[in-house]
């Protein structure tokens, strides 16, 4: 519950304050948002499964974003940034999709 409240507070503050993201962070924003979505759907599914845990949620959220950004950073350094970005997006996309399917089964029983 604490995590959800904190998340909502963060979103509200983020909407109120005009963001200025430094230029060197720009390439990692899309991948970070996708990773955040993945953690968000995972948390929602865990909540519906009845196994939600604040700490696991926040830690998985942060580590997902950081690992995804790190992979893209490494890819950029190695010259395969766009390919690794695609790989991360594919893996996270599959996870998001199947988590969404599990949530759907919970909500609609279908």
């Amino acid at each position: 519950m604490i995590a959800v409240l904190g998340l909502v507070a963060g979103v509200v503050v983020g909407l109120l304050i005009e963001p200025t993201v430094p230029a060197w962070l720009q390439p990692y924003l899309p991948i970070a948002v996708v990773a955040a979505l993945d953690a968000l759907f995972g948390g929602l599914r865990a909540h519906l499964d009845g196994v939600f845990d604040d700490k696991v949620f926040v830690v998985s959220f942060l580590s997902n974003v950081l690992v995804a950004a790190l992979i893209v950073f490494l890819g950029d350094q190695l010259g395969v940034g766009s390919q690794l970005t695609t790989a991360v997006v594919v893996v996270l996309g599959i996870r998001i999709f199947s988590n969404a399917a599990a949530i759907r089964r919970h909500v609609f029983k279908a």
Binding site: A3, G6, G10, V11, P19, Q26, A32
Partner: protein, 304 residues
């Protein structure tokens, strides 16, 4: 043939794609299950300390904030603007390269014309050539060099720093016009501003903040070079209205003005002017406008 193993459960058709199966059938973080198992354990601490709760809350706020910021940043129509700007920039660069290539070709052709006309006039004696050179120097189609005077004008320090508030402390086209006219008045034989030779039909104008000389944009500091007797030019300039204008620029607008004598100035030729009228020598022809143009530019072939 005997199989020691009991009948295995039916093999999945897509068993060879284990990676995809794992990704799609088990997407939930194992951490949730482990945490649930820990909670279910009889000796588990069900309550976390206040520090841990606060940490989780802070991290959640950070995560929400970061995600919203990232999403807002991504939603901004930056890419389109950037794309359009990149496209425009590359087009500008392409056109500039093309213009440079054409200007170079123009210069080559002008040199060729110069060489050919000198060759064609070789039979006409040195008098013709000398007259041509003298007229070319006066008209501006021939590069000239020699001693002279250089007047340098630069924007005030505040305006040069890009402060819009002090935009009127920039050098303006009028200032360069007055200096150029003052130098002509003082007896200059040829004038060039930042390497742009002034001719009888040159224009010093401004477009926005840029000063154009013959449609070529110049950037400051502006160096007006005049070929002539340095001492005569200096005293002559001091007697013209340009001198008081320069003093005003320095005192009121903080524009830097420097005057220096130079032993060897090199003024380039202006681009070859468009040949509008050409008449054979010895025949007075009245142009459509009613002007007597018999003294206008003569084509080399006809004058030899």
């Amino acid at each position: 043939m005997t199989d020691p193993r009991p009948a295995v459960p039916a093999r999945r058709l897509d068993a060879s794609m284990s990676l995809l199966i794992e990704a799609s059938t088990n997407p939930l973080d194992a951490g949730y299950a482990e945490a649930a198992a820990r909670r279910a354990h009889p000796h588990a601490r069900t309550r976390r300390g206040p520090a841990a709760v606060a940490l989780v809350a802070v991290l959640a706020v950070v995560v929400g904030l970061g995600t919203v910021w990232a999403a807002r940043e991504l939603r901004a129509p930056e890419p389109e603007v950037l794309q359009a700007r990149t496209a425009l920039q590359s087009e500008i660069e392409d056109r500039r390269d093309a213009a440079q290539a054409l200007a170079q070709r123009n210069a080559e052709l002008a040199a060729e014309v110069e060489a050919l006309s000198a060759e064609a006039l070789a039979g006409g004696g040195t008098a013709v050539l000398e007259a041509l050179a003298a007229q070319g120097a006066a008209v501006g189609t021939v590069a000239v060099g020699g001693p002279g005077l250089a007047v340098t004008l630069s924007d005030s320090a505040r305006a040069a720093a890009g402060d819009e508030q002090f935009a009127d402390e920039r050098v303006q086209d009028l200032d360069l016009q007055i200096v150029a006219n003052g130098l002509w008045e003082a007896g200059a034989e040829a004038i060039a501003i930042n390497g742009q030779r002034l001719t009888a039909v040159s224009a010093i104008r401004s477009a926005g903040q840029a000063i154009l000389v013959d449609l070529v944009p110049l950037v400051g500091p502006y160096r007006v070079e005049a070929v002539g007797d340095p001492a005569a030019l200096e005293t002559g300039l001091a007697r013209t209205a340009a001198a008081s204008h320069l003093a005003l620029l320095t005192s009121t607008y903080g524009i830097g003005v420097g005057t220096s004598r130079a032993d060897a100035l090199e003024l380039p030729a202006s681009p070859v002017p468009t040949l509008r009228y050409a008449t054979p020598i010895g025949e007075a022809v009245v142009a459509p406008g009613g002007l007597d143009v018999s003294g206008s530019v003569q084509s080399p072939g006809e004058s030899s």
